[in-house]
């Protein structure tokens, strides 16, 4: 979930010098970058070979490799664009590079050098501002998780110290808080040790992949404990109608044991099919191996809670008024949290195109993601009527 940070923060070191606006491919010395470019060149010529010839009528510009990107056959008079490459640290792959095919069916030539020229100027023109913002978001994430850990530890201390509070629901809260604490600790470890350390990423030790594995496991634990809370309330209110004591073994299994399954499958799939350095890349659909079950859990939880509210409102309003009020308060807290925790998965694909709106979106997403522990501690403990 560290989309922009992981793209830009690792590249804290050198940027490449270019002369605007005649930004053009030159043969670079750096072998890693050259390797990427040669790979792209190979794929480009393969594609040019295999793609069917241009069938539509009218003038067009021939497909070409311009040294960095592959361009398809383009009708005359059209400006075609694609995403910038990620060869260089200061190139932003979310920006667009463009190439103009003029009316005579030839690619646009730069007036100064009279060579065929593609427009890569947008790729590195906003990078310094974006780098600044990436830093701000990075520190915000660390502060968020640190605040979360603090507030959660305080809440845990309150729950353990005041024995009068303890009941089964509080036991579930304790487990939930504990999983949040561990998740924040692993996230901070990842943010501090791996993300700003390109040397470590290049060396690609097994330990950073193990760290990622535990990170994914703790993410699963977080959301599955929220699901346990929902199932517990559901069993308590809808099924058993306020009978108190349930056996918590199955909840422990679902909350701590089961997240090992998606995390392990993700590790195996990643090692086999997408074994990048430190498993840091977020550009792969293999991440849905973990995020899919998490979203399923959130959805199921949401339906359970709606069902609970329905039961509380309709059936118990007249018969068990006092208890239903108490349980309504319990449900309210969970009902507020589940959408808040889940909404990041819903709106993450829809980042606005506009620059300012995109920045606001990034800030809100980071707050939602990294200050969750603080939110959970506040709602479940500090704002809890019994506490």
């Amino acid at each position: 979930l560290f989309l922009s940070i992981q793209r830009i923060v690792p590249s804290l070191s050198s940027t490449v010098n270019y002369t605007d606006p005649t930004l053009e491919p030159v043969v670079t010395e750096n072998s890693v970058i050259r390797q990427k470019i040669i790979d792209s060149q190979f794929k480009c010529y393969e594609r040019m070979n295999r793609a069917p010839p241009y069938k539509k009528k009218g003038l067009f510009c021939n497909r070409t490799w311009d040294g960095w990107l592959c361009w398809d056959d383009t009708p005359a008079g059209r400006l075609t664009a694609q995403n910038c490459p990620d060869y260089f640290p200061d190139f932003d792959p979310t920006e667009r590079a463009s190439k103009y095919c003029d009316e005579t069916g030839n690619w646009f030539r730069h007036p100064e050098s009279n060579r065929t020229w593609s427009n890569y100027t947008l790729c590195n023109s906003f990078t310094s501002e974006k780098l600044k913002m990436a830093f701000i978001l990075y520190y915000m994430a660390i502060v968020g998780h640190a605040l979360s850990i603090t507030s959660l530890l305080i809440s845990l201390a309150i729950f353990f110290y005041f024995k009068s509070l303890s009941c089964q629901r509080i036991t579930l809260h304790k487990n939930l808080f504990f999983s949040y604490v561990l998740n924040s600790m692993f996230t901070i470890a990842h943010l501090i040790a791996v993300v700003p350390n390109p040397g470590l990423v290049k060396r690609d030790p097994v330990s950073c992949k193990v760290l990622q594995f535990f990170h994914q496991y703790m993410l699963g634990c977080n959301y599955f404990w929220m699901l346990c809370e929902g199932i517990y309330l559901h069993t308590l209110i809808v099924v058993a109608v306020f009978a108190e004591e349930q056996r918590l073994h199955w909840y422990y299994l679902l909350g701590w044991g089961f997240p090992l399954v998606p995390a392990s499958i993700h590790a195996v799939a990643r090692a086999r099919y997408f074994n990048d350095n430190c498993w840091m890349s977020v550009d792969t659909h293999l991440l849905y191996i973990v995020h899919g079950p998490v979203m399923a859990a959130l959805l199921v939880n949401f339906f359970f809670l709606l069902n609970i509210v329905r039961v509380l409102v309709t059936k118990l309003r007249d018969t068990h008024r006092a208890e239903s009020n108490m349980y309504m308060k319990a449900v309210r807290a969970t009902l507020i949290l589940v959408p808040l925790l889940g909404i990041q998965f819903v709106i993450i694909p829809w980042r606005p195109e506009n620059r300012l709106a995109g920045e606001i979106y990034d800030y809100i997403m980071h707050i939602l993601m990294h200050y969750q522990g603080l939110l959970v501690a506040t709602i479940f403990c500090f704002f809890n009527g019994e506490v």
Binding site: E24, P25, V27, R34, Q35, K36, I38, D39, S40, Q41, F42, K43, Y45, E46, R47, M48, N49, R50, N62, R63, T64, W65, G67, S113, R115, T116, L227, C228, I231, Y232, H234, T235, V239, A240, A243, Q246, R247, W250, Y251, L253, L254, F258, V261, P262, I265, A269, Y273, F274, N275, D276, S281, T284, H285, L286, I289, G292, P293, A296, A297, V300
Partner: protein, 149 residues
Amino acid sequence: GDRGCDPQQGLTALACLAAQHFIAATACQEADYGWMIRHYCLKQFQLSMEDIGQRLWCDWDETVGTYGELTNCTALIAARLDCYWPNRLVDEFFVAVHKQYFRNCSPSGRALHDPPNGVLCPFIVLPVLVTLLMTALVVWRSKRSEGIV
């Protein structure tokens, strides 16, 4: 020191020596460029590929070095002849090379990519189904522990 050709450079020295014959031309002569890349770069590439052996032509790890040298060679000759690189001739040249050497290979280079959908979908759908199953199991077991079946 720019005009001297270092004999230790191997392939590039060959290109360098040949290019020096054409110093007189200041603008890019496309015919010369086309001839040169076919006679120097392509020859060297052919020899290297024959050394590697036809069986391994589709193994990107084996051929990437030679392919990179071929690219370098064309770029160097372009620099010597004052042509910009890449250009239309380079495109045609490489398309021909690919037709001859890489026609039967799978198109991807070494960049990482997701497995095909037939592999990816089961990997994703399976944990989701197991999650739903497990949830149902926990709900059922907590019902039973109440004594209410």
